[in-house]
């Protein structure tokens, strides 16, 4: 599987990446035979930048983070962080990295403060230093009120924040975040994005994984699209989006008999041919300017008395990227029984990026 270059202009710092993986392969055995979780993964993240590994469930994102953070050993390939060989000197690597996983790795029975103090002690801070650092991080992550309560009673967002705080105890130069906002409500997600942006502004080098194009767009300098354990495309978020097209306008009709009229209107305001879904009542067209086109489309539809269930601007999602790069939907392998998985639009609606009112 070769990497599809999005842009021919190679970034100068890429060769000297602070985080580097080359030809990394990891095969798991499973009941249905060997699974190649990583299949020649190559990445390089220059110092002080953010790279997002973008891919669906099962693409190998978490395995990539695990091999880089010394948690699992790959079958082949080389890995280094700040020039330190991850396989030869895992302990040295652990001193300079911070890791926050997909599932908050915090102790339910300890309080927030106790969790962070324990991590501080295991970084060999003195008891006093560990206590000071824990208190600082608790305040920084707005957990002050809950800091002395057992984590059992924390919400999902609070646990994630505490877990991220745990990854920062040692003020790491290099941070790994595995799907930091998966499962969070929109407000917690925005708050966590801000924390991450602040960390990056302060000079932290970050590798994060995500299933959301929007998240990669918000946080990352460069995006590596990962599929079946290898990088299949790499570039800036803008390069990715320009490759797959920008916004589109989508409408869902009350009455399928209006489809012809709606199709004509969408064609007039869109930048390509409208696409009609199998149900015959959901239409979509790529547009240059989302909001302006939506207004025009809605005005024309109203003048023709076309009733609507739903209408909105659809932003490109991971599914669009995937469909474009691989010719198949993002989660085809994961859930073959789910009919919406073969329909890019149905799938993207589940990611919260679908047709908006």
């Amino acid at each position: 599987m070769s990497t599809t270059p999005i842009s021919s202009s190679g970034r100068p710092g890429a060769v000297q990446g602070l985080i580097r993986a080359h030809g990394v392969t990891k095969v798991y055995s499973s009941k249905s035979g060997p699974v190649r979780a990583l299949d020649g993964l190559d990445i390089s993240v220059p110092e002080g930048t953010v790279m997002a590994l973008l891919g669906p469930n099962g693409a190998g994102k978490t395995t990539a983070v695990k091999v880089l953070t010394t948690l699992i050993k790959p079958d082949a390939g080389t890995l280094s962080i700040d020039g330190i060989d991850v396989l030869a000197e895992p302990k040295e690597v652990r001193r300079i990295i911070g890791v926050s996983g997909q599932y908050a790795a915090v102790d339910e029975n300890l309080t927030g403060q106790e969790n962070l103090r324990m991590v501080g002690r295991l970084y060999h801070l003195s008891a006093k230093e560990a206590r000071t650092r824990a208190a600082e991080l608790i305040d920084m992550f707005e957990l002050t009120d809950a800091g002395n309560r057992p984590v059992k009673g924390y919400s999902g967002g609070m646990r994630r924040r505490l877990d991220l705080a745990g990854a920062l105890v040692n003020s790491p130069r290099v941070l790994f975040l595995d799907e930091p906002t998966t499962g969070l409500d929109p407000r917690s997600r925005l708050a966590l994005w801000q924390v991450i942006k602040d960390l990056v502004a302060a000079g932290t080098t970050l590798l994060l994984t995500t299933q959301y194009l929007e998240e990669a767009d918000q946080l990352a300098d460069s995006v590596a699209v990962i599929d079946r354990g290898a990088v299949i495309a790499e570039g800036t978020s803008d390069q990715l989006k320009s490759r797959i097209g920008g916004h589109s306008v989508a409408v869902a009709l009350m009455d399928g008999n209006d489809a012809a009229a709606a199709r004509e209107i969408l064609a007039r305001h869109g930048s390509g041919a409208p696409h009609t879904a199998d149900d015959g009542r959901t239409l979509e067209v790529a547009v240059q300017n989302g909001p302006a086109s939506l207004q025009l489309v809605l005005a024309d539809l109203q003048s023709r008395d076309v009733g609507l269930h739903d209408a909105g601007i659809r932003r490109p999602t991971l599914d669009d990227v995937f469909l474009q790069l691989t010719g198949r939907p993002a989660e085809e392998d994961q859930d073959p029984r789910d009919p919406s998985a073969v329909d890019g639009q149905g799938k993207s609606a589940r990611h919260g990026e679908g047709v908006r009112r």
């Binding site: 790795a105 060999h124 920084m140």
Partner: protein, 281 residues
């Protein structure tokens, strides 16, 4: 939320010796586990109430119906209950390792520059403490129902030492099992399936001479029997019962010492090696 505070100077590279860090790491994890035990009422009940119940039930229910030569059943029984309880107590090390793995906290530990054996040392230490508490409580209950130590204080301490040494060594076996099996429920079920025969087909509750031949042979070679026999001897609770003619029963104290040492020599390195490669899924 400001990130300014996130750029503290890294203080990890301190001049502490590796040995000092190792001890400190072990203590940090032990403390974490002890806090956890303190805050989980069900664990306290397991460690405190269950042994009390066993002592009372066995001594009061079977006390009158089982005859032991040269002593009464309550005297004879206690060593068996102590041994059974500490052996079962050790299974907690396995369930707890599986639970920590499931919750992802092991992943957190493994990304820290701590000593790789510290988590296992902390685990086995805190379970040793829990077992010690169980033994103390059982002994207190035993004294209340008429159990007595008929030897010296030194023998008494040696007996307690053997119980705890055996259970500590067995904790390492269970910890390895917990990381291999990975589900706390499976660990609990599997240890039930293995430990019930191991503790019941032994001399813990009855003399092995009363058992049918195949079970008797098993019981006379069973390491749990050796532990019970050793403790019984040291407490002076043997009465005039004959000692079965197998090497482990004739040399019970030596068998427990050798068995514990063997478990530690084999399973400490295996468990530490396993720890260095496990990760949540």
């Amino acid at each position: 939320m400001s990130a300014a505070a996130a750029r503290l100077p890294a203080t990890a590279a301190r001049g502490n010796s590796a040995a000092a860090n190792w001890a400190a790491d072990g203590w940090t994890v032990t403390r974490r586990n002890l806090i956890k035990i303190k805050r989980s009422p069900d664990m306290i009940i397991f460690a405190v109430l269950q042994p009390v119940m066993f002592v009372l039930l066995f001594s009061q229910v079977y006390g009158g119906s089982i005859n032991v030569a040269g002593t009464d059943y309550t005297q004879y029984l206690m060593a068996g209950i102590f041994a059974q309880t500490v052996v079962f107590g050790s299974t907690f090390s396995g369930a707890a390792m599986a639970q920590d793995l499931k919750e992802g906290i092991i992943d957190r530990f493994r990304t820290l520059p701590m000593s790789p054996s510290a988590v296992l040392i902390g685990r086995t230490n805190s379970d040793l403490a829990l077992n010690a508490i169980s033994v103390l409580i059982m002994m207190g209950t035993g004294l209340l129902v008429g159990w007595r130590v008929n030897t010296s204080f030194a023998s008494f301490l040696a007996a307690v030492g053997l119980l705890l040494l055996f259970s500590y060594s067995f904790s390492w076996v269970m910890a390895l099992l917990g990381m291999t099996v990975r589900t706390p429920e499976t660990i609990n079920n599997a240890s039930f399936m293995i430990l019930f025969p191991l503790t019941f087909i032994s001399n813990a509750f009855v003399q092995s001479s009363t058992l049918p031949a195949p079970l008797r042979i098993f019981a006379d070679w069973n390491p749990v029997s050796a532990l019970v026999q050793a403790v019984r001897e040291l407490f002076g609770n043997l009465g005039t019962t004959p000692v079965p003619d197998t090497w482990p029963m004739q040399h019970a104290v030596a068998t427990v010492l050798i068995g514990s040492a063997a478990m530690l020599l084999i399973f400490v390195p295996l468990a530490v090696r396993k720890f260095e490669s496990v990760s949540s899924r």
